[in-house]
């Protein structure tokens, strides 16, 4: 580390230092290997077996049959359609989160009276526990008594929407809920990034006669990029893996398992159908997809960053 600490190291003996490191790190290592590494390895093994409710004790390894089953046997629902839904779910959510978040951050980053009040109010959706958000929106989407259909029928004079009853509308309801819940995070991150841009850049641009959209494209967006890229990566992972909203808004994938993204589908397979090995094979597939995405996205964005 440096000369001083190594001098003390010599005086106290290296053994003591190592004991100290062990004291700091070992407990967490032990815990993490018990509850992260071990389950991970167990999950890999499980995905190669045939465990289900009837075979909790006497299951055996059957190789890659669960994976083959996922990709070839059209289940109810089928893997490819759920995967497609997951992509739509993640894509639509992230686009809205980032677009709304950056837009609101730009609006908030001006000299306006009472903007701290607005900032606080706009963070609220993020601050409320997710399960409460989901259950509340489920109530709002209720066909007869939910506030949303009341507004649609009474104030807009349109026919009531079959939220939560037909597959497409139920899926849209989940997306609307999650868009509402997710934009504040991107807004706060973007706001932090905007505040760190030196003001002189804009003054210089003003002197050069730049219009607002020039400033936005040439100064603001490139400069908040380094902060937004990791935030978006995190956002994609969180959204892709967001079990709470889909599970609770659609009430375990209703109508008849048509409203699933991959994680909620796995949860159903594991805890409602008790097909443990099938579910763990699906978990592995999700993990590999996310890992690949993260690696590709981070290298790609680093590569384009160098071009600036």
């Amino acid at each position: 580390m440096n000369s001083l600490l190594s001098a003390t190291e010599k005086r106290f003996g290296v053994g003591r230092q190592q004991l100290f490191i062990a004291f700091l790190v070992l407990p967490s290592f032990v815990i993490l290997s018990g509850v992260v590494f071990y389950p991970f390895v167990y999950n890999v093994v499980l995905s190669l077996g045939n465990m289900n409710l009837n075979r909790i004790r006497d299951w055996e390894l059957i190789g890659f049959r669960q994976y083959v089953k996922i990709f070839t046997e059209p289940g109810q629902p089928d893997f490819y359609s759920v995967f497609l839904k997951t992509i739509i779910w993640t894509g639509v959510n992230i686009v809205f989160h980032v677009a709304l978040g950056v837009f609101l951050a730009l609006v908030l980053n001006q000299r306006l009276k009472g903007k701290s009040v607005f900032r606080t109010v706009l963070i609220l959706p993020w601050a409320i526990p997710q399960y409460i958000v989901a259950l509340t929106w489920r109530g709002l989407f209720n066909y007869e008594y939910g506030a949303i259909n009341l507004i649609i029928t009474k104030y807009l004079n349109l026919p009531a929407v079959e939220w939560l009853r037909s597959p497409t509308e139920a899926f849209i309801a989940c997306i609307l809920t999650n868009v509402w819940l997710g934009f504040p995070f991107m807004m706060v991150v973007a706001l932090g990034a905007l505040q760190s841009i030196p003001h002189e850049l804009y003054e210089a641009a003003d002197i050069d006669g730049a219009r607002w959209h020039h400033k936005l494209r040439r100064i603001t967006l490139p400069l908040i990029r380094p902060v937004m890229v990791p935030a978006i990566t995190l956002g994609v992972i969180w959204t892709f893996n967001n079990l709470n909203i889909v599970w609770l808004v659609s009430n375990t994938g209703e109508p008849s398992d048509n409203t699933h993204i991959l994680v909620s589908f796995v949860f159903k397979a594991a805890f409602n159908f008790y097909s443990f090995s099938y579910a763990s094979a699906l978990s592995m597939i999700i993990f590999v997809i996310l890992l690949a995405f993260t690696l590709i996205f981070l290298t790609k964005s680093r590569a384009t960053e160098a071009a600036y």
């Binding site: 600490l5 004291f23 790190v25 967490s28 993490l32 509850v35 609220l124 601050a127 079990l243 890992l291």
Partner: protein
């Protein structure tokens, strides 16, 4: 030209405020609905009229929540579990984060990488093996079981946050403490740990919220109604929506207000902790 400029800037202000008002309205809409429902008398729960505050507002639902339901029990259970998870999270993350930040040791790189990778695990990947593990250990329907699962899910993020924060504290402080006669542990405990209190607060808050607001894991592990935490109780109101929707509103307000206040007070730190961790990664 000047007049035109002024007119433009007024228009700009009006537009900005309208955007903010519209979005503030959208953000507040569900919360207003929850308040509204919680104040409705029992016979008007299924009202199809939209009023700002119901004309015959009453606190009945709040009273019934405490007198007719096990709300206090759920709250006590939730508090107990959350407290245990918070203490575990802070204790292990503050020490492990320090180790990762300051020292070189075998498996450090692997450990850090593993911490990051856990963030990409789908929830079920850990949940299912842990569930089977808990069955085999006989820990289903126990607090110990659920505390283990919650701590495990919160710990990677907490260690990562603490490490990121320790990285910003100069090493020279420990050196000075060592010269003044502190032991390694003394330098950590008396000098560095107090300086890291903002990160400790985030770690504590994050662990607490993980446990306080979690429904899905709890629904699998805690099946005995006497062990129910708040999320399970609230969900049970929703199941029979027609009759107990008002109590759901009252309960969710009581549950959410303290968490929301805590969150708002700490949101600035939470984000800086997040970005610090991820940018450095």
């Amino acid at each position: 030209m000047a007049v035109q400029h002024k007119r433009w800037s007024i228009l700009h202000k009006v537009l900005s405020y309208s955007v903010l008002v519209v979005f503030a309205g959208i953000a507040l809409f569900p919360i207003w609905q929850v308040v509204n429902i919680s104040l409705r008398p029992g016979n008007r729960l299924l009202s199809t009229v939209l009023e700002f505050i119901p004309g015959d507002a009453t606190f009945d639902n709040y009273v019934r929540l405490f007198t007719e339901r096990d709300f206090l029990l759920w709250m006590w259970n939730s508090a107990l579990v959350s407290f245990a998870v918070t203490v575990t999270g802070v204790a292990f993350a503050s020490t492990a984060g320090y180790g990762f930040s300051r020292f070189r040791f075998l498996g450090k790189k692997f450990g850090l990488l593993a911490l990051l990778t856990t963030q990409m695990f789908p929830a079920t990947m850990l949940l299912l093996p842990m569930y089977i593990m808990l069955i085999n250990l006989g820990l289903i329907n126990t607090y110990l079981g659920i505390i283990i699962v919650y701590s495990a899910t919160a710990l990677p993020f907490c260690v990562w946050t603490m490490k990121g924060y320790y990285d910003t504290i100069p090493v020279s402080l420990e050196e000075a403490a060592r010269i003044d006669g502190c032991s390694s542990f003394g330098a950590f405990y008396r000098v560095i740990l107090p300086l890291a209190s903002p990160a400790l607060v985030i770690t504590a808050l994050f662990s607490f919220m993980t446990a306080w607001s979690e429904y899905l894991v709890a629904s699998q592990i805690l099946q005995d109604t006497l062990l129910w935490t708040l999320p399970l109780g609230l969900k049970s109101f929703e199941a029979t929506m027609s009759t107990e929707w008002g109590m759901y509103g009252a309960a969710s307000l009581i549950v959410m207000v303290p968490v929301v206040i805590l969150f708002l007070a700490l949101s600035r730190w939470l984000v800086s902790g997040l970005t610090l961790g991820s940018v450095k990664g």
